[in-house]
Subunit: 339 residues, 2 copies
Amino acid sequence: MAQDKVTSLDVAKRAGVSQSAVSRVFTPGASASPKTVEKVKAAASALGYRPNMMARAMITGKSRIIGLIVAYLDNQFYPLALEGLSNALQAQGYHLLVFTASNAQDRVTEIVQDLMDYQVDGIITASVGMSNDLTARCAAAGIPVVMFNRGQDETEISAVTSANVAGGRKAADFLMAAGHRHIGHISGWQGSSTGRDRQRGFLGALAAAGHVPTHVIDGMYDRQIAGDAALTMMDSATPPDAIFVGNDHMAFAVMDALRSRGIRIPDDTAIIGYDDVPAAAWAAYDLTTVRQPVNQMVQATTELILAQITDPDAPARRIEIDGPLITRGSAPQNQRTKT
Amino acid sequence: MAQDKVTSLDVAKRAGVSQSAVSRVFTPGASASPKTVEKVKAAASALGYRPNMMARAMITGKSRIIGLIVAYLDNQFYPLALEGLSNALQAQGYHLLVFTASNAQDRVTEIVQDLMDYQVDGIITASVGMSNDLTARCAAAGIPVVMFNRGQDETEISAVTSANVAGGRKAADFLMAAGHRHIGHISGWQGSSTGRDRQRGFLGALAAAGHVPTHVIDGMYDRQIAGDAALTMMDSATPPDAIFVGNDHMAFAVMDALRSRGIRIPDDTAIIGYDDVPAAAWAAYDLTTVRQPVNQMVQATTELILAQITDPDAPARRIEIDGPLITRGSAPQNQRTKT
DNA sequence: CTGAAAGCGCTTACAG
DNA sequence: CTGAAAGCGCTTACAG
């Protein structure tokens, strides 16, 4: 069943040319006479021949495979990024070998090892921290790495993020302008750069205006923890009239939790999230949020990794992309000043 | 920078053995004396050697890569499936090469071609129909294919789905038992087996009880279309007091649309979805839905594809996994009978 | 158990 | 432009 494995030699025989000629016809920068091209193409399609990428990869050292390490596919932002990355790379003739991983450091080591075994041309990590050791190994092996939606200060490794500090600032400025004076913060995981940067921008802007947050709790990017944190705040002596939540995924949980207590949004408490995932626009949440421009981030990541693959000496770069605050019902403009 | 490319020959020299000996030490079913193993392992780790998967793949004809074709990553069900599939396969030493694609038939042809170029050991398609031609080509090339969450009648190709007909029936029985008599249906895309099967089960159960649906509209697995369909139903002469929606993703849109009109759920209209994605349990929706047991589906898919890779003569199988109806607030039990 | 040798399916100098 | 030949890094009979 199946006379599989049609090789370039088979095509060569049928076309009456050498095996090298066949190879040249299928190699982009090749030189072959129109006549040869024609004969080879005819024979190839008759036989159903396609060059073996593995063999090609072994010789050229280019697999045209890019490793992607992701975690948390329950946060809508990442599937969207994955889809965008896959599409953008596909258009350039590259493909994504996906590895799902938690943030556990040891697993990441193992995974990067696996990735390297596959001779991937590059690695994109989304929502995973990379140790310096790992970074060093990739550099030694000449494998470009780009971190997506995560920065890492200590190492000189490329990273693409949104302008998280500025974003946190926007959330604070917006809330203060809307007249809020009792503002809480349920942050993103403080073990991540996104969580830290957004918090830094947020608290910085508050402090600059002489304000102090009612509460600051690490939501760990977890629904349960975030929801509980919100209730803790409301049960305190100084319940906030607005909460900035470190990402949309947690903000939805916070809204669910508050509503379960009969707390009205935004009347009793306004909510701002971060990401602007599709569900933020759904009527049930109608969430005011700072947008992470996922398409631009995907494009920058793609360009960066491709540039580094093309030129191994290309310097690591850090790209920050600014995103607007999207005003929706969960935190309207001039809420308190209308009173 | 980087003395990359440590080959088995380098290790052999350092260990004082032949290159074949090195290869044997790294080949699972090999035979090597303890002394050889020790010397080779020492040399290998000193040099940082790891076998080149590409070279290995070329010889053995096994890449340990499985192609995954997905679409619609905005429907939470698929990211979850992707994550599960990736984890399960990773545990078996396989990895997923991801291709995102719409259902456009031509693109799929092209993609499968790409996939075959990479010498993938198998292909899993999620939410994509495969033409007979494509199926034939894969069979000819000896590449196992498993369709995930989609069946296809005409071809003898493996498929794993939930028990969609039974699921549709459950939705109908539940709604009738709850006392509903004016029941509408916003179906999944009728170009898909899931959309058709759920509808068939649903309408069949209704008919068996002597009931006729108030409306049947194809929601195309699209939020906008589904929401509009719901409003169309409510604006008609016979507004339904319950709607069965073809999947959760559309059901959320339907709930948003109805609420925007001030229609109360479930008091005015009860809603049932299909999938039981995580968001169905979120308080804002609290959606009654028929669960697709994603973990079991993932496991069955993994076992099936691995079995077919191991034994090329393994017959194609169709596996249906039954899932329970999960009762939540959007469609309570005995709703009308309580009145 | 182990080494020498052939070969997987290609690309790429090397001479024409 | 084109063919013969070497070689990419491995695995796997084949003889010891």
